[in-house]
């Protein structure tokens, strides 16, 4: 069998020169990785959903029965597992959000939290796309939560040292671009909400670009800005809230967004019901599962 040592010496020298490859640009590599993971989150298979009301009701009923059975026989773990494909407004959606909060609370490092937050951001985008595809207006709470995920991820990145912050921001940026381009073009009100969400993502991209060119200003912005948190996991909030300035933050740290200290659990977010496109308001952020 021929191998490198059996070759003509001249040819061998030539081929060995091919082994020298310029070092890969670490930032390009990080962007590629983030894009891959963002695409994976966007492609994650979701359960097929039919707009037909009876079938949807049947599924909701089945979901409730399954949850009860799981709670009875399998406990909370089973319910948590069953909730992972739930959409805003569905019975199991609050369970899904609670599981996310728990995962964030258990994340060991700021980097792990950033990864999780951006993963959840991609999930929010996928949820909004799925609702809009069914002609349902994605609830404002979902967009607000998406916004919070991103802001918290940026705030955690601002607490890292310069090289780590730069890589983290590049990763967040790449994912935001992938998220923005994955938002669908839908007609009517659902499409308008997706368009607004795309603009929001692009604003965050601009903010990150500023951060990459002026890291200190970016840090200062997050040191002095308190994110209006309504449904944020306690652990993350504790980690990212600057402790001084009497803002009531509970980090106990130096305001640099270091490892979170899990605080007392707060309530999980509500279960805002999505609105069907053409119909009346339907009572705004009411309980879910009221779609026609």
């Amino acid at each position: 069998m021929t191998d490198l040592n059996d070759l003509d010496p001249q040819l061998k020298r030539e081929l060995e020169r091919l082994k020298d490859v310029p070092v890969r640009d670490p930032q390009a590599a990080a962007r590629g990785r983030a894009r891959f993971l963002a695409e994976a989150a966007a492609l994650q298979p979701a359960p097929r959903r039919s707009p037909a009301a009876p079938r949807k009701l049947a599924w909701n009923f089945a979901a409730v029965v399954l949850t009860l059975l799981l709670l009875f026989f399998g406990g909370a773990v089973g319910a948590a597992f069953a909730s992972q494909n739930a959409l805003p407004g569905e019975t199991l959606y609050p369970v899904k959000l609670a599981v996310e909060d728990l995962r964030l609370a258990l994340a060991g490092t700021p980097q792990a939290e950033i990864d999780l937050l951006m993963q959840f951001a991609a999930v929010r985008v996928a949820e909004m796309n799925q609702l809009a595809a069914q002609g349902i207006v994605p609830p404002t709470e979902t967009a607000a939560r998406l916004d919070q995920h991103i802001r918290l991820a940026m705030q955690l990145a601002a607490g890292l040292d310069d090289p780590a912050m730069s890589v983290a921001l590049e990763n967040i940026r790449a994912q935001l671009e992938a998220d923005a381009s994955s938002l669908r073009d839908e007609p009517g009100e659902p499409g308008r909400v997706l368009q607004q969400t795309r603009q929001m993502l692009q604003q965050h991209v601009s903010m990150i670009d500023e951060g990459l060119s002026a890291p200190e200003q970016f840090r200062n912005r997050f040191r002095t800005t308190q994110i209006a948190v309504t449904t944020t996991p306690t652990a993350v909030r504790a980690a990212v809230t600057p402790s001084p300035q009497g803002s009531g933050g509970t980090s106990g740290g130096d305001g640099q967004g270091q490892t979170p200290t899990p605080g007392p659990k707060t309530q999980t977010p509500g279960n805002p019901g999505p609105k069907k496109t053409p119909g009346p308001s339907g009572g705004g952020a009411g309980e879910g599962g009221k779609g026609p």
Binding site: L7, L15, A29, G32, R33, F36, L37, E39, A41, L43
Partner: protein, 181 residues
Amino acid sequence: METIVPSDPLLLERARQFDRQALAEIYDLYSPGLYRYAMRRLGDPQLAEECVAETFSRFLHALRDGKGPRDFLQAYLYRVAHNWITDLYRREPPPEPLDEAEPALTTDPDVAAEQALRDDRLRRALRGLTPEQQQVILLKFVEEWENEAIARALNKPVGAVKSLQHRALARLQRLLSEETR
């Protein structure tokens, strides 16, 4: 010489369920090698990044459609990368190598120029091979894969790989001597 190792079945199974951790692990494991392979074939960092991105994207789409590799993931990924490069060259022929010579890793301008020239010659000679011949040369003599692994990446029997390799070497030698003449 790199021996063929079946991919961790558990890792692949988790990837099939779009487990983020598993997918990240796969990316970290295989993307550096794929990038180097693409750089050797393409000689352009941006194109090489594009090749890696497209390879992993096709992998994800295959997983979503219930397809993709069952065992030898590395061979699968290199096959996808190879197909992407072949399609690229079919769509747009490679640019003249002299216009995109990589800067040589030396500070002496004369040596650098000489190295760049030799790199161009080599890349031009390689491009004179068929896509499969290029692949077999790189996998065998640069990546140092065993014939069995190459056979999996090319989806061919080992015997066919050996004769392909033999023809590729003869042709490369001839093209190189023509280039230096």
